[in-house]
Symmetry: C2
Subunit: 258 residues, 2 copies
DNA sequence: GAGTGGTCTAGACCACCTT
DNA sequence: AGGTGGTCTAGACCACTCA
């Protein structure tokens, strides 16, 4: 499959027909990972070393690495190198357990950092969600979550100050839902969840150790109490390779004829 | 930000500092889409035309397009061109409505093609799921789903022939769950769903009009009846830019002290 | 057959991480 | 200071689509 300038090498073998060179290199690295020659967390040889061992142009090597990154097998640390990715964390949006709890259940080590807490006027869209007037104050909490020391998720949580006055003065590294329940009597009875693959903006990507455009999964959670009030509005930006969604549903009774 | 060979152009303006050229081009195209100058479904200028208008090397143009593709704003048709992507379809895994129904609810036009139907021996993993012996026969149905004529999803459904004898002789373009219920008395009471971003293999990508490595979302659905038997095992490979997941959950009663 | 995207080469300079 | 990945150039040939 080699193309471009004639390098004097023989034409591709029959079994290589139709398989681009970058995928062949991808396969080689993927095999090294599967076979354990490259362990989870291990650093790959540098692009220039891979280039020399292929041999191939550096762009071709980067194409192979980008492919492995899209598959979630490897990730990069900006200007540091490429690393074998650990297995993803399983996330069940129907469960009440907070991040810390369900990561621990999977024998991984969770971490949390509160990046910022502020009061800010609601944008039009936010006001709509909380059924407030645009410009009304909202608590905003930005948090970073890690698994085994690796940042996997950035979230921004919005809370109506009227429902949870003084919330920002609390320690916010633990379960916010728990605080809202015990301190403010806000019990969540309904969750609306939206998920979609996305590309992360420069800020978010940088916090997760990546570059603008890093593939991500956006999880938006809107939590309601029994009176239908929005108690918590949470936007979580995950690294796409760090998460796996799992839902277990018992089907509700169907209306007659359904 | 221009780098590499000196092209005689002036250094980057202050507001461009730190913003790579490919992102600037991305922004320009994204603005054209937002502003409606490029409508949904419209074809973008060719890479070589974009290159001439930027101006930039073709690799840089392709980087900008790949970024937009990752964000779901544009997609490509192999060797045909780049196109503005339509809005994604919303998918609610908790609802019983089949693909055709919920696509229609969103005022889009669904389509279905049965690609293949066969009986094949269960692999080890499949046997495990169905609690059968490895090598036991399983019905396999491959289907392609389209929205507004565009392929968005390839699925393979496995069914235990003992539970639904003769299933393959039926018309399979409609709701399989419906057939299993009305013809075979199999009522699904529990769904286990797994979702994760993935890269699509060459076959799947080709069926969705893409190249190997196309970004996708894998949705695995395991359906059980009241006796806990696996009635249906379905692996859906979606184009990542064609789907948005939405779940609305009423929280179950908590155990005391929860 | 003209034009498209897909793959590839062989360089270069830069910002930043690591030591 | 040396090495890394990030960005960019300027070409090339190929497989395929489309009119």
């Amino acid at each position: 499959m080699r193309q471009g300038l004639d390098t004097g090498r023989p034409p591709a073998a029959a079994d290589d027909v139709g398989r681009p060179q970058y995928l062949a290199l991808r396969d080689r690295i993927a095999r090294d990972i599967d076979a354990g020659r490259l362990a989870s967390g291990a650093r790959l040889p540098s692009e220039r070393h891979l280039q020399a061992s292929a041999p191939a142009a550096r762009g071709t090597v980067r194409q192979a690495l980008a492919q492995l990154e899209a598959e979630g097998l490897v990730h990069r640390r900006d200007r540091s190198g490429w690393y074998v990715s650990p297995p993803p964390v399983t996330y069940d949006p129907t469960r009440r357990a907070g991040f810390m709890a369900y990561v621990r259940e999977q024998k991984r080590t969770p971490g949390a950092v509160t990046l910022a807490r502020s009061v800010r006027p609601a944008t039009e869209a936010q006001a709509d969600i909380f059924r407030l007037a645009p410009g009304a104050p909202l608590y905003a909490i930005d948090r970073l979550r890690t698994v085994d020391g690796r940042p996997v998720l950035v979230e921004r949580i919005l809370v109506d100050p009227d429902l949870a006055p003084g919330l920002l003065d609390r320690s916010l590294d633990g379960s916010l839902t728990e605080i809202l329940k015990t301190d403010h009597g806000l019990v969540i009875v309904r969750n609306r969840i939206d998920m979609r693959p996305c590309a992360l903006d420069a800020d978010t990507a940088a916090r997760l150790g990546g570059r603008p455009g890093l593939a991500g999964l956006l999880v938006v959670r809107t939590s309601f109490d029994a009176q239908g009030r929005v108690v918590e509005y949470d936007r979580e930006y995950w690294r796409h390779d760090a998460i796996r969604i799992h839902v277990d549903l018992t089907v509700r009774a169907e209306p007659a004829g359904g």
